[in-house]
Symmetry: C2
């Protein structure tokens, strides 16, 4: 079935320069991306947007085909667009045991192919994912509820960036040691003792990707590509609400693997029907040796406790915090934070939840502002940002699931609501449930039980504190205990910024300082920003760094005496 | 108490070249060592051996002093030399909570010092350990039962090599990312968006080293130095039978830390009295975030299951296997394997246990040899090697504890004993319990229950198989299921060697091929040989590789807008 070896495309040769640039970018940590984030036709071509939309529309109401995929039958449709219609797509059904067995049996030639070949195949998969960005954007929009532009950027090029970043780390780490070396130890008498040694990176075993509902590709690609490039087959278990973006990904990966002469079963889709719970079964399968998970703290903790046979990488939930001490650009601060809250209606793991503000006020270029003033002004900034319905619909998102709706209802009863969440009509999708952020005022001492929980969704709290000192203490304590994926501080004082940096180091959280312009705390750029950290409970891994890839493979060694004629003449 | 900052020695400047050479050596993987393995006076100085012995003798029967060490009182003496006398040394007593609290409170300035300073301090500690190699050698001999030369080499320079190797990986991994970077993203209109970013490696928390009885320094230094250099304080919990080598190490580390202006409590000795069991209590302390352990599979598995708050690195037990298919140097093969069994009376985690040999025989330059023939010839080679009592005492070791004696007694009852274990008198230590290896003949099919257990100590089995094919299958299955730290193969066929290499990759074990000269399967040279592998159950880590250090720290980031005048002119 597969073409002859000599006819196969050499994807490593094709992408070698890109891979080298990627590795350099992870080391330089400046701005770099090979995948344009603009969905402009001048970048992606005149007919590409229409083709992508047609490809997406073609999936609706039909079985999704994965030629040669293991298993039998189909799982019933589970996806409903948050913009108000069922996708009605069925997927191939494969039992957990079958999926793991098929993945495992595909491993041998993939291991023997070595890191260069594997990185080349991965880069080709990413190139084709990039070409499919419009199809994927529609799939992401109608599974996550993201507005189209965000679905395109975060679900397409930015996710591809994060995938390539993982490829770069995985490739570079496997090449830290030479493929072979001569060891030659001088002896007091006669020639040296000499051995020839071989070093082979070997994957840990079958990898499982348990993906999330809100960012199936952005959060999924790093684990998928890190495992694949380090020699492991990957079973992809999508969230029931967001299968299509990963099904498209699996289809592309399988096609490239086949062209390169490998078994397509190195990437398997393990979709599940309504009410099925296969993630736990897959994650504790004895042959599953790597698990990547993004989602709830409860299931993340369960995996860390129970998937003992595997290396487990989790991104869970946390209390994203903003400490406000002072500013010389109050309007910039308000506008920047309002956008951070509005984006995708607060359904990002990086959206700020807790704003710690001195009750008695903080200095600004517009005079002293109390916590009350700040809450009022932040809400006004939100109102202004969202005044135009078209623009609001393009910034906010549709509510992804009932869990978010329930938390939003619950949040109306805590503290003092300064701004209620309101509904916004989408011009093209009247049935979409799009909401604006709710902002409530709390007290640092009285309301600790409220703000030390995560309220995933468009819910944020302005929390009055005694002082910036108390704010920093609460930030350190809550982040260290409950975790955080982002933190921010605003201050005109270098001393306070330095204390905030020390607090962030102690709490184990990445920190953004004085963002008042076009960069937002919830944004994280591949190749420059680290996303998440094992240093606090919100995650057990960083996207991406060497620790994210080194546990996925071992370097095994063999050694034998060097040929005698050489070893005696050194 | 500590000297002024300007008077402090700059250990990084002093050792920078050594550190750079070390990193280069980990990458080249040829022969390299900065610490001479010869205990010759021409290397270490005329009076150094006598000074070292006097230092050791000075410890006997006295309290071991660690100035300023936390805790109160002393723990009673627990150490008895396997060469036949009690050491009678008491050590400072510190409760687990006290030890962890003291270590934790020393962390801040150590974190802020950065990787260069930390690596410099570690290199200075190693330099002083090297200067104390004779004192340490006597301490290792009289706690482990190793003969003096081996105690000197494995406990001194080779352990220091492994320590420096861990320093090199820890230092290099922390410097993979720049300390700061400018991110500058072009915009369609106006100047770029620009942020200045800082990247800071931060240790995970308090590290615990649970050391073993047989190689307290060789197996202990990698974790100790990897944790320390990545910013973590270390609590050293020695085995009750082998405290002194690590107490000397802790004393030297604390002195260097103090000279460098840091708290000595970055390295704490947590000795325990007879019958106390503090390792489990320390390992599950919520502030202990890293555990390194060498020892039994039972306690290693317990740690992996229960020390959930920590990153756990274990080296446990396994079934070290030799597959014999054919040879063109039968005498070389026998001599090499006999030495491997005799060294330290088989009490190495790397000593071969299972020899898989075709029952019907294998080809040699001396004709076909059956499994029976081979067992007889191997025993004859052992008899020849150990014929001279002086030489035998210098090669073998004293039995380290009753567990080994009990297994040796039990082994007389399994299979057919081809060579019983015998006692050897030590000229200088008449009370030493020195034993020669026992060799028994087993059958691959009938005796699987016997040879799929680990028999740590001077016990090895020649196991008759149907064929090399069966031998390789048993090797793969037993190593994959029960683990192995070493494996070896002898064959004149490139096909068989290639199959053995594939089997070793599948089993996840490092392989030695056709060793017939002066290199032995149980030897593992730092900077060139990987020791252990997370790819099989005998260990969860390799000494050393990037995976051994990357889990010990996180790189945390802060970012802020770049100054306006610069960001608009890029």
């Amino acid at each position: 079935m597969s073409p002859n070896a000599q006819d196969r495309p050499d994807f490593f040769v094709r992408h070698r320069e890109l891979l080298e640039q990627s590795v350099a970018a992870t080391q330089g940590r400046g701005y770099w991306t090979p995948y344009p984030e603009s969905p402009s036709t001048s970048v992606y071509g005149e007919r590409t947007p229409a083709h992508g939309e047609a490809a997406f529309t073609g999936h609706i109401g039909r079985p999704f085909e994965l030629p040669g995929h293991p298993g039998t039958g189909v799982v019933p449709a589970t996806e409903v667009s948050p913009y108000g219609f069922p996708l009605g797509i069925t997927y191939p059904r494969v039992a957990p045991d079958e999926a793991v067995a098929a993945a495992r049996s595909a491993t041998g030639p993939w291991r023997d192919a070595g890191p260069d070949t594997r990185a080349g195949v991965a880069a080709e998969i990413l190139a084709r994912l990039n070409a499919a960005s419009f199809e994927i954007a529609h799939a992401v929009q109608h599974t996550t509820g993201q507005a189209f532009i965000m679905a395109f950027q975060a679900g397409g090029p930015h996710a591809q960036d994060r995938g390539l970043e993982a490829v770069a780390y995985a490739w570079a780490e496997q090449k830290r040691h030479p493929a072979s070396a001569r060891w030659s130890k001088p002896q007091r008498k006669g020639g040296p003792l000499a051995l020839d040694k071989k070093f082979t990176p070997v994957g840990r075993g079958v990898a499982l990707l348990v993906a999330c509902n809100t960012f199936p590709t952005w959060n999924g690609y790093p684990g998928l590509f890190a495992s694949l490039v380090t020699g492991n087959p990957v079973v992809v278990k999508p969230h029931q609400g967001a299968v299509l973006p990963l099904a498209i990904t699996v289809r592309i990966a399988r096609a490239v693997l086949t062209e390169a002469g490998f078994s397509p079963d190195l990437v398997i889709l393990a979709a599940e029907g309504p009410g099925e719970r296969t993630a736990a079964e897959l994650a504790t399968h004895p042959d599953v040796r790597i698990v990547d998970f993004t989602g709830s703290t409860a299931f993340g903790d369960w995996l860390e406790t129970n998937a003992r046979q595997a290396q487990v990488y989790t991104e869970k939930a946390g209390l994203n915090t903003v400490v406000i001490d002072s500013t010389d650009d109050y309007q910039g601060l308000l506008g920047n934070l309002a956008f951070s809250l509005a984006l995708y209606s607060g359904q990002m793991c990086t959206t700020p939840q807790n704003f710690l503000v001195p009750r008695s006020g903080f200095a600004t270029d517009d005079g002293v502002k109390t916590a009350d003033d700040f809450a009022t002004d932040l809400c006004a900034a939100l109102d202004k940002l969202l005044a135009d319905p078209q623009r609001a619909a393009g910034t906010l998102g549709a509510i992804v699931n009932d869990g978010v709706r329930e938390r939003l209802a619950e949040a109306t009863a805590v503290g003092r609501t300064v701004r209620p969440s309101t509904s916004v009509a989408h011009p093209g999708h009247p049935a979409a449930d799009i909401r604006t952020p709710l902002v409530a005022l709390l007290d640092a001492d009285a309301d600790a039980e409220v703000y030390t929980r995560e309220w995933f969704g468009p819910v944020s709290f302005v929390i009055g504190t005694d002082s910036t000192e108390q704010s920093l203490r609460i930030f350190r304590d809550t982040a260290a205990r409950h975790g955080a994926l982002t933190a921010a501080v605003h201050s005109t004082s270098e001393n306070v910024l330095s204390e905030a940096e020390q607090s962030a180091l102690q709490a184990g959280v990445h920190l953004s300082e004085n963002l008042t312009g076009g960069v937002f705390v919830n944004q994280s750029a591949a190749f420059s920003d680290f996303h998440g950290s094992a240093a606090n409970p919100a995650a057990s891994a960083t996207l991406s760094d060497p620790a994210f890839v080194t546990g996925r493979f071992a370097t095994l060694q063999s050694r034998r005496p060097a040929p005698a004629e050489e070893s005696t003449h050194v």
